[in-house]
Each structure stands twice: as C-alpha cells, then as structure tokens.
Symmetry: C2
Subunit: 218 residues, 2 copies
Amino acid sequence: MSETEIPDIVIRRLPLYARELGLLAGEGRDFISSQELGQRLGVTPAQIRKDLSYFGRFGKRGRGYEVVGLRERLRTILGLNGRVKEMVLVGVGRLGRAVLGYAGFRRGGFEVVRVFDSDPNQIGRMIDNHHVADVATLPQYLQSSRVAMGIVAVPAEAAPSVIEMLVSGGVRAILSYAPITTSVPSGVHLRQIDPVMELESMAYYLEAPFDGYVEDPQ
Amino acid sequence: MSETEIPDIVIRRLPLYARELGLLAGEGRDFISSQELGQRLGVTPAQIRKDLSYFGRFGKRGRGYEVVGLRERLRTILGLNGRVKEMVLVGVGRLGRAVLGYAGFRRGGFEVVRVFDSDPNQIGRMIDNHHVADVATLPQYLQSSRVAMGIVAVPAEAAPSVIEMLVSGGVRAILSYAPITTSVPSGVHLRQIDPVMELESMAYYLEAPFDGYVEDPQ
C-alpha cells in the first residue's frame, strides 16, 4: 500500500492514538476496546477501526487492542521508532524561543540541530545552547546537512521566502507558525499552527445559533 | 439550521476561507471561483461549495464568489464581526509569554483580559501590561467576569485541573497548548495546539513507503 492510498487525515490521527495508548500503558492497561479508546479520544469506535484497517488487523476478538503492541506498531508506521529526527528552526523571536525551550519536542524524538534568524542583533548569539546563524547561510547548511524537517517561526511577511528556502534545500516536512497560506510542491508536507484560526472556529459556538438560509435557497 | 447539524470540520474550515478571501480583497480581487479558491487553499472546489452550502447560496453563476461580501458573511457566521472576544490566559511561562506577545490574537479580534499562574514567583508581576493573578482566584474571576474563552499554557500535569476550573467557571471555548487528551462536557469546545503531534504525523512521510499488510488480512 503506497502512501498516496492512505488519506492524510488518517495519518494525522495516528499520533493521537499512539499517545493515548502510551497513557494507557502507563496506567498498566494491557488491552483496550475500540469503544473505550474512542470514548477517551472523542471519536467513534468505527473510525478507529477503519483508520487502523489501512495498516493491518490489530484487534483480538473479544479482547480489543493490545495496548503496548499497537502503540509500537503505530510508532513504527509513523517512523518514530528510529533515531532522533533533526530539525532546523528559523526565527528566534519570542515564539522561536518558546519552541527552543519546549521540552516536548525532544521528548517526542525531535531535536532542533541548528537555528537561523535574519536579525543582526540575534545572529551570532547563543540561545539555549544554540548558536544563531544567519538565515542567508540556510541554503548552504541544508545542502551539507540533509536535515529533512524545519520549523518556521518568523513573521508572516518573511515566511514565504523562508519556506521556499527550506523546500529548495530538501526539507520535506515543515511546521509553520506563520499565519499565511502557501502551497508547497507535492512530496513536501506543511502543517500550520494557527491559534487564531482555532479561536475563530470556536467563536462560532459562542454566538447565538445561526438562523439558517437567508439568501435564495435552491 | 442548528449548530449540531453543521459538522465541526466545516466550521473549522470557515476561518481558512475567510482569511484567504481577506488576502484576495487586499489584492484587489472582486470575484473568485471555487476552482481558484480551492487551488490556493489546497482543497477541492467541491468541498468549498459543499461547505458553503450549509449557510446559503453565495456563488454567482459564471462569476464565482464575491470576495468581500463572502468574507463578511463568513465572519458574521463565525461571530467575528461583533466586539472583541475576551479571553483569560492561564500560564505565563515561556509559552504563555509568547501567547501574550503575539499580536495576531488582537489583530484577529481576541484579547487576553486577565492572566493567571500558580507560581509564587510570577504572581503579582506585570507581564506585557498584564498583572499576573493567582490561579486560585480564577473561579471567582470567571464568576464575576463571564469571560467565555480561555487559553491554557500550563504544563501537562496541571492542565486537567485548569481546564476543569475554566469549564466550571462557564468558559465554553478553550485553546490548550498542553499535550494531553481530556474530554469536556458537551457545549464546551476544546482545541489543542500540539506541534509534536503535527511533527509525528509528518514523520510518516519521511520514511520509506510502508509496505502494507504484514498481519493477517481479512
């Protein structure tokens, strides 16, 4: 089964399943049903079963999923059981510093190996044991290092050119905190962290219920 | 049409459409087809048409969507054309400070009106013109203020109790940066920002293609 046959939305749920199975393992659970797992995650058991069916058969009839085994399989499928994934970070403003200081990346097996900025006041400084390099040297660095993941923590106006540099340099997985929409070539994956959009979508639920069709229905 | 009839996934895409329409308006565009909008956003035109059909008919045959008008309608549907949405922020560590310093919230019509922390070294301090209050006073504050949105920027272990306090205090929209899974009562909306999970799901694409079924197929 090639990656193109598995919907991206399914791939995106696998880390959620893996994390919850990790918590269950910590609670000493050996097996869990799709019903209970679904309840804990707020998704339907049918969705869990369908998502997992892309990768094989995991459940044991009457017992459910084997917690540790399924978690390991999911992490292997995701490529997370290998060595640490190296990332470059572009942007060491307040957000970039929060990224550098977040222990969750390293715990998750991701490590920032080099940081870049365009601000002359930042270039050359040490931040959290990282030497801040000039973003102008990013293409050269990527060519020699072959780092495949990057984090973009620059202002919106700078983001498109930074993303272009990363893509040109062979980075195939980009996490962007910039509130812009941009397209990347097929084979490159871009995920955006956009807290304002999350708030906007929740604002809908704070308003009085929408009263339905107000223009010409057809 | 009640909110329960419109899938949440549709609501979550409306801010994306609104933002892109805002960019198009800035470029001086009057109309745009679902084809072009889809291309810019990396979604299918059919999905855009279907999403919008929940709220009425917007396209003009042969001309497409009226850019400014549709954007305004979407923002009205989302409840974003009213006054500023007030939020509490819990946690003023490195991440909470990045949240406080992020101008995008205010630009988007969201404003942190009160910040809380449990750390005695933070309580009482001024950070970005915000007085840091003791999280123990959060329930009392919520009762008197009726703020409906909250941002959680505390460590994972503290997050469940903070989320519970917010929910008990009437907060109905919560943005959480804590890497935990937790359920909230129906009527309360919780969105999680979890960069590690985003990275994990992209790691899949960096590995050699998965070779398909390795357990008993059925």
